[in-house]
Structure formats: structure tokens, C-alpha cells
Subunit: 523 residues, 2 copies
């Protein structure tokens, strides 16, 4: 990100201020922004991306009314870092959402983790507030569950949802159940006030999250303010769930039931946005935080279509995401954009929609996608694939170079933990960490999206691709200043024993003594 002179920054602030004032007296306001972020949903789970049962008519319609981005990526093959990247526009290595506890290890924010989003990070809702936006997060936060990391401390005006995954049930002795918050305070816990039946897969959480979204959108009508809704539902993350009317509705089993319920819900949100009850028009983007969790397939995991492996890996199946941009009258209908995109672009694009510039005092990795979406102007940019602080791979144009290959350890694999079930590319889907930093494995993603046929090291094409890739990586690594790692330290006392609001509910638990230690990250 080029540095912006101070005078220009002041001018821009003035403009924003004017925009806010004008907005208040009825001038055209910037569009509302809705980011629909799925949890562990795979590229191949959408009909429009070739899911054979084709059970996503609303998402397919969203694509027909908008633009499909088949080359869109998560910022990490795991949830927390990818979500941090979306809201900060920055690679997890910059924001601290990584671990140095082991080489090339994925890390996230389980209950015992001490860290979370640092105060030094600027989050999208806090920036959008400067342009007059009201903002709400519905669903999973995952950027830290301790009080300093609360989403309302980082720019959101409202929250309904949970700080972490809906794992459980727990006994509230060794481990508390995960709290569900409304705004500043807990209103209950999963498996208690918010039941999930692990046997049948029944839970009505998606319906609650849908109502929260519709209610928030409707309330903005009277306020006549632009709004930002971050709808981060989690029904497709194991333990997968759906509400009763959807159970058994899919040919794909429970996972498909969850997808159908989300697809219907997206249809209802878009229907509301199409109608007269919403002030101003709305930019909507649909994507997912990382690839389908094939380790849980088929009952608890989705599909990455033709791509290799899934969640936890830096193969395409781990980070290539379903992606649809929808903004009727602006984003052309029925188009496909070849732009290499990233969830981090949603940060920069949202700022652009609001008439804001990204922060100029730090590196921002997200691109403004509007030139690609509105004018078909593609921007050349690399995609970096990290595990922890290790750069595993990079895509430049059609070429993807792997500097390290790893799925998981033999030890984990022998326990039945398989990130690539039914797939095995010799020398690629390795169970030992294989270094290729000097002579990376290179794939042509156009001819070989499934990463099955590495280019011959002796070929002219390999040498030409290497010449393209090396300087891109060199520049990236030379300029990189990693943030303070947030995901190294775990402590049983850090868990959700007594979240704010627990007193009123009589649901405060007594934490054990503090015993910080290095978190264990097996993958």
C-alpha cells in the first residue's frame, strides 16, 4: 500500500465528514454492505460451481444476478486467521493470527487460547463507522473470546452470536460450554439455552441468525443510515446442524440440509434487500472462511469440487472459496470474473464502497475489487498460502508454486485424520513436511486445477514460471514485518468461565488457577 501524504489524508477525512453530514440531510448515501461468510463451506458446495445435486437455487440465482468469482481465496486454510484477515484486510502473519509453536502449524482461537485481535489492528466496522455506517455481526466472531477482544470493542455496534465454534457439549467443569452473546453480554450457552442435538443434527440457530439479520436490516430503514452486516453463520462447520424443517431435505445428507437452510436464508435476505423496505442499495458478497473440511466428510463436511484436499491444507481445496458479488444495477448480472480475489479484498472493497481509503500507516493486502467487478479491469496480484508463519505456496497468474508440501503427520493420519480422502498425489500430498524452497513444485492451475501434474523441472515452462514467481516472493518476504503472534499461549483459566452478563443469568463458573503453556497445534 503506497503511503498517502498527510495533506491528502486530511482532505479525505474532510470529504468523509461532508459525506456523513450530507447523508444526514438526505443526500445519496453509500451502499449498504452485507458480507455473507460461511464456515467450512467448500467451493464445490454450490450448484453454480457444479455440485451434482444442485441444491442451492438461491445462491445460483444470486450468481445469475451478480458476478461469480471462481478464483477467490481464503487468507488461510483455517477459520480464525482467515476471519481476522477479512476484517483487517491483512494477512494473518501481519495481524498476529498465527503461531510460532511449531513449523507450518495452523492455529486458531479455541477456548484456552489467551490471544486475540490486538488493539493495534483497525477493523472494518470501526473504519466504516467513520462514514456513518451502523454495523452488526451475526454469528461467529472467532477473533478471541476474552473481554479485550469483544467485537463491540473493535467497531461493531451490535452482535448476536458466539466468540468461537459450537463444539460441545461440555460439562462446565473441565471446560465451559461456549457462550452466546447479544451485544456486550452473554445470553446463554450452546447446548443449554441454545440446544444442538448432536444425534439428529437439529438446531434452530440458522433461523435465529436469519431473524437477527432481517431485523437489523429492517431497523436501518427508519434510521436512514448505511449499514454493514457481517453474517457469519456456522451450520456447515462440524457439528453440522439444521433446523427441523430442513432435516432430511437434501440428497446430500445432514451437511446438505445445512446448506439448503443457509441457501434459503440467503434467498430471504436478498429478497428483503430487493424490496422497498431497505434504504439505499446494498452490495452483497458471499464466500467462506476456508475449504470444506474433508476430514469430516461426508456427513459433517462439504465438497471442494475438483480441487485437491481440504481445510487445513494449502492445496486449492483448502483455500479456494465459493464467491459471488451481488449489487443489482452496479455489478453486472450473469458475469464471471477471472480476478484472483481474496477475503482480504472484502475489507478494501467495503472501504471503497463507503468512500474511504484503506489505512495508510500499515500494509494492507486486500485489493479494491470494484474495478474488476464494475469495469472488468483485472489487477495482477499474487495469492499467498500460509500455515502459521510458513509461506507454503504462492499463485502468480496461472502458476502455483509450492515451497513446502504437507497434509498432516503420519501419526495423525494413522489415527484416521485425513485431509485428502480418496486423493493421493505422489510427492505432493505428503505426510512429512517436504521442503521445495529452492525448486518449488509448480502447477498450472488452468490446465490442472486439481494439482495432480507438477510441471517437469526440466521444462522451459517450469523455468519461465519460476522466473515469474521468485521475485514476487522475494519482494513479499523482504518487506514482511510479522505481527506479535497471538496464538502461542493457552491457559485453562482463559476459557469462557464467567463471560460478561453471567451474573444476571446465574451462569458464572469458577475458573481454575492460571497455568499458561504453549498451545499444541498438531497440523
Amino acid at each position: 500500500m503506497a503511503l498517502v501524504p498527510a495533506a491528502a489524508r486530511r482532505w479525505r477525512r474532510l470529504l468523509v465528514l461532508c459525506a456523513a453530514v450530507l447523508g444526514a440531510v438526505g443526500a445519496p448515501q453509500p451502499p449498504n454492505i452485507v458480507l455473507l461468510l460461511m464456515d467450512d463451506m467448500g467451493w464445490g458446495d454450490l450448484g453454480v460451481n457444479g455440485e451434482p445435486s444442485r441444491e442451492t437455487p438461491n445462491l445460483d440465482r444470486m450468481a445469475a444476478e451478480g458476478t461469480l468469482l471462481p478464483n477467490f481465496y481464503a487468507a488461510n486454510p483455517l477459520c480464525s486467521p482467515s476471519r481476522a484477515a477479512l476484517l483487517t484486510g491483512r494477512l494473518p502473519i501481519r495481524s498476529g493470527f498465527y503461531t510460532t509453536n511449531g513449523h507450518a502449524r495452523n492455529a486458531y482461537t479455541p477456548q484456552e487460547v489467551v490471544g486475540g485481535v490486538p488493539d493495534t489492528e483497525l477493523l472494518l466496522p470501526a473504519l466504516l463507522r467513520r462514514a456513518g455506517y451502523a454495523s452488526k455481526i451475526v454469528g461467529k466472531w472467532h477473533l478471541g473470546h476474552r473481554p479485550p477482544f469483544h467485537p463491540l470493542r473493535h467497531g461493531f455496534d451490535e452482535w448476536f452470536g458466539s466468540p468461537g465454534c459450537h463444539f460441545g457439549p461440555y460439562d462446565n467443569r473441565a471446560r465451559p460450554n461456549i457462550p452466546v452473546y447479544r451485544d456486550w453480554e452473554m445470553v446463554g450457552r450452546f447446548y443449554e439455552e441454545f440446544p444442538i442435538d448432536l444425534k439428529t443434527g437439529e438446531a434452530n440457530l440458522t433461523q435465529i441468525y436469519l431473524e437477527e439479520a432481517l431485523d437489523f436490516i429492517k431497523r436501518q430503514q427508519s434510521r436512514r443510515r448505511p449499514f454493514f452486516l457481517y453474517w457469519a453463520v456456522d451450520a456447515t462447520h462440524a457439528p453440522v446442524y439444521a433446523s427441523r424443517p430442513y432435516l432430511g431435505s437434501s440428497l446430500r445428507g445432514l451437511y446438505g440440509d445445512a446448506v439448503r437452510e443457509i441457501d434459503d436464508s440467503v434467498g430471504k435476505i436478498l429478497q428483503l434487500l430487493r424490496g422497498p423496505g431497505v434504504h439505499g442499495d446494498t452490495f452483497v458478497f458471499f464466500t467462506s472462511d476456508n475449504g470444506a473440511a474433508l476430514v469430516s466428510a461426508p456427513r459433517q463436511g462439504g465438497s471442494n469440487g475438483p480441487f485437491l484436499c481440504g481445510k487445513q491444507t494449502t492445496f486449492e481445496g483448502g483455500m479456494r472459496e465459493p464467491a459471488i458479488a451481488w449489487w443489482p444495477g452496479h455489478v453486472p448480472a450473469g458475469q464471471v470474473s477471472r480476478q484472483l480475489g481474496s477475503v482480504m479484498d472484502l475489507f478494501t472493497t467495503s472501504l471503497a464502497l463507503a468512500g474511504l481509503e484503506p489505512p495508510s500507516d500499515r500494509e494492507v493486502d486486500g485489493l479494491d475489487l470494484l474495478p474488476a467487478l464494475l469495469q472488468g479491469r483485472l489487477v495482477h496480484r499474487p495469492i499467498f498460502y500460509y500455515r502459521g508463519n510458513t509461506l507454503m505456496a504462492v499463485t502468480v497468474g496461472q502458476y502455483k508454486a509450492h515451497f513446502w508440501t504437507w497434509t498432516n503427520s503420519w501419526e495423525e493420519f494413522k489415527k484416521g485424520i485425513d485431509f485428502c480422502p480418496g486423493q493421493n498425489v505422489s510427492g505432493v500430498t505428503t505426510h512429512t513436511q517436504e521442503e521445495h524452497t529452492r525448486l518449488p513444485l509448480i502447477f498450472h492451475l488452468g490446465r490442472d486445477p486439481g494439482e495432480r501434474f507438477p510441471l517437469s523441472l526440466a521444462s522451459a515452462e517450469y523455468r519461465a514460471a519460476l522466473r515469474t514467481v521468485v521475485p514476487v516472493v522475494q519482494r513479499h518476504q523482504d518487506a514482511l514485518v510479522p505481527g506479535e503472534p497471538q496464538l502461542n499461549v493457552c491457559d485453562p483459566a482463559a476459557m469462557n468461565w464467567a463471560p460478561p452478563g453471567c451474573e444476571k443469568l446465574g451462569k458464572c463458573l469458577v475458573p481454575p488457577p492460571s497455568a499458561p503453556e504453549k498451545c499444541s497445534w498438531p497440523h
Copy 2:
């Protein structure tokens, strides 16, 4: 197929006769029929089926204007038997398009094969002629290259194309180059009058085949007869080719260039059919003869999307095909049909469109798809997967049961012949012929389209699926009368040494002495 009483048959013949007479004096005629049959194109090669580069805008538009069938199957994982099944409406085991030379062996019609389509088979163009249709085959015939098997002897009025694959070049001593026919006579040979540059992949055959199609359609306008066009292009079969303007046009390499040229050509055919230059409306169906040849990927082979393995195998990747039905004003636009379909259905459906009944003196396996396409009425039917005379698998509803698993032998695999590159499902993608006839491997294709997770033999679901599958197979096998196998005997004297017309061209070659022997079918 239920037997039809003789009186009913006579009545139907009278009706057909009346229809023909009425047609001649200007009454509404049945629709024209165009079958677009691809060669080794895979399910995953279409943008609408999730090919990530999305380079098939014309086929995607065809799907948007018509109905997509994601559950449509070839009748065999290899070309000749599948094509014989399309034109006869019958499984290859009935028409003789199989071998008994080895267990579970795929066989086709190379130059040295002696057999071909028997005179006892009734082919679609011969039947459509009874309803007044003019018919043409453009491209690959593959139902036998010796004179008795000539397509004009089996009902076609016109032919431009070749009897077999465009393999070569040959030296015309050990083996002649494959002839290209116009109607009854050869007009040249591949690599001679019809060049294919194996180095660059350049050949203008798709352009010739396109012109042949457009010319035929235009000529029917003045004749005011319904027509049947069977457009069997072969650019996506190795050696893959494209004409110069398309070379390098695809992100997918040469294979993608061939797909782009075909996609553009389909666009031109549909554009002509949409326009005023065509008498009557036209039913168009797009599909392929078998799965993508992953053994030749990525330069010479396509994609089977999320499905397992490819051509030559009875996994989904070998037989699940791209399929689009297009008939504006009749087949609803933008629909997806869950009907389990087969290329054999194109026989029966075409007869139904022409107002004809399928032959009642033999088993016909093809269904009339019109109830599914026009009224959304799904017909319960099984899909049988054969290699040679061995029933390898069956799909009933969502359940697929494998009675035999095999990819190819260790001997062939060690030579580098891999039908499942990058895929390996333990106990499923076997390199020995594994029998499971008593306890088949069963997959749920809705939850697990990639055939990665066999149901547990101990599960109630397995037992219920088995109870569904067994009687279907029992009925099929009890009633089955295999035809005389056509693909057992090979003879160097049977090759295309002196096809009709060779004298005029001065291109007759002298055949070697006849030396019939058992054909060798390694897979």
C-alpha cells in the same frame, strides 16, 4: 419394454403413415432433432458444471435456455459401445458391442476389428426415416468400418466423417491412415488430405464438421422435411486438436482450445436454429460418449469434476456425462432435472419426438425423457455399468453398488497408464479385479458423489440399500439375452486398406493376407 399387441402396432403404423402424409401437405411436422455427441469430454468440462476457468459460454447459455441433467450417463465407459447404445437404444451387451475375450474388458472398433453393428439392429436414423426425417451423421461413426457397417446402410442419408478414431499418422504399410468419407465414398485420409499436426495440435476438422452441420440444416429449409443431425465431433479425443484461431485461446491448454472451438461451434448451430432459416423447431441434446480420458490429462484429456476416475472405468468419472436438453418453448429454461438419464434415452426420446414407438420385438433400454423434461415427471430406473459382458455396478436411486472393482492391471499401471491420476480410494480403485458380487461396495451418490466413502457393511443403511438393489439386478440378469459379441475377432486384412472410393482417388492400398485372431483388450 412391454410387448405391444399386433393390433396396436398396426394402428400405430397407420398413424405414422398418416403423419407422414399430413406432413407432406403442410400439417405441423415433428421437431427436428440434433444430437451433439462429444468424444471423451468429461462432466466437469462445462462451466455450468463447475469447470473453474468457465470457458463454455455457449454451452452455459444452452443450459440457461434449456434443462441441465446432472445425472446423465454413458452406456459404457468406452466410445464404440456407448455410441452403439445411443443409436440402438440398447445396452451394448444386447447389440453385441462387447467382447468375451477376457473378464471385464472394454472393447471398441479399432481398424483391425472384424465386427460392427449387426444388420439385426434397428438404428435411430432408419426408424426416423419412417416418420419422414432426413438424417445426417457428421464426424465419428465407430460402429464398424467394413462395408456392411457403413452408416448409410444403417439408415443415415448422409455422412461426412470417419469410421474410427483419428489416431495416426500411419505409414500405410503396416497400417493405413483412417479414411474420411463423404456419404458412400472415401474423400481422403487423416494426416493426408485431412491434416492433423500432432506437435502443435492444429487441425481444422471441427470447422469442417461445423460447416457440414450448418449446410445440412440450411438445406432442409427448402425440403421442408424434419431432420435428424447426429453431430459426433472428436476434437477432445486424443490426439486433441483445434484450428489455428483457437490454439492458445484457453487457460486450459490444448484440450481447452478444443473445448472452446466446440463451444463456439455449438453456439453457431444454436444461433442458426434460433433464426428464421430453419423449418420447424428443433430439439437439441448435448452429451458425451464416455468420461474424460484422465489417462491423457492434462494436455490431451479433460475433467470429470468431482467424480472418481475416468474413461475405461465404471466409477462415476467413467460414465457420468455432461447433458443439456434444449427445445425453446417446450423444454423449460433454466431448469435442472434429477432424472437418471442415459445416452440410450436419446434413441427413445427421439422416436417419441417423431411420434414413433420404440421397436416392440426386442428389449430397449432407453427411456422417453419427455415426461421428465416437459412435465418434470421422474421415472425410476436403474443405471447399469458394464465392462465387456461383466456387470460391474448398478445405480438405483441414490445408491450405487459395485459388484466388481477394477481400474487396470498392475502391469499396465506400472507402464504409467493411470485411469485415476491423483485419486486413490483404498479397496475401490483396485489394480486387481476384485469381486464383491455377494456383498457389493455401496456408495450414496448424493452424499458422496466422488465414491470415497463406502457404506459400512454393518449399517442398517447398507442392508436397506442392498435390499433395493438386489432384485433390480436379479430381474435384469434373468431376462438378459446377450447379443453375438462383435468385438472378439481382429484381422489385419480388415483394416481400411481400400475403402469404397479409393480407386477414384488413387488411394487403394493392398491388404495383407487374412489372419484372424482374438483381439487383445488389456483393460
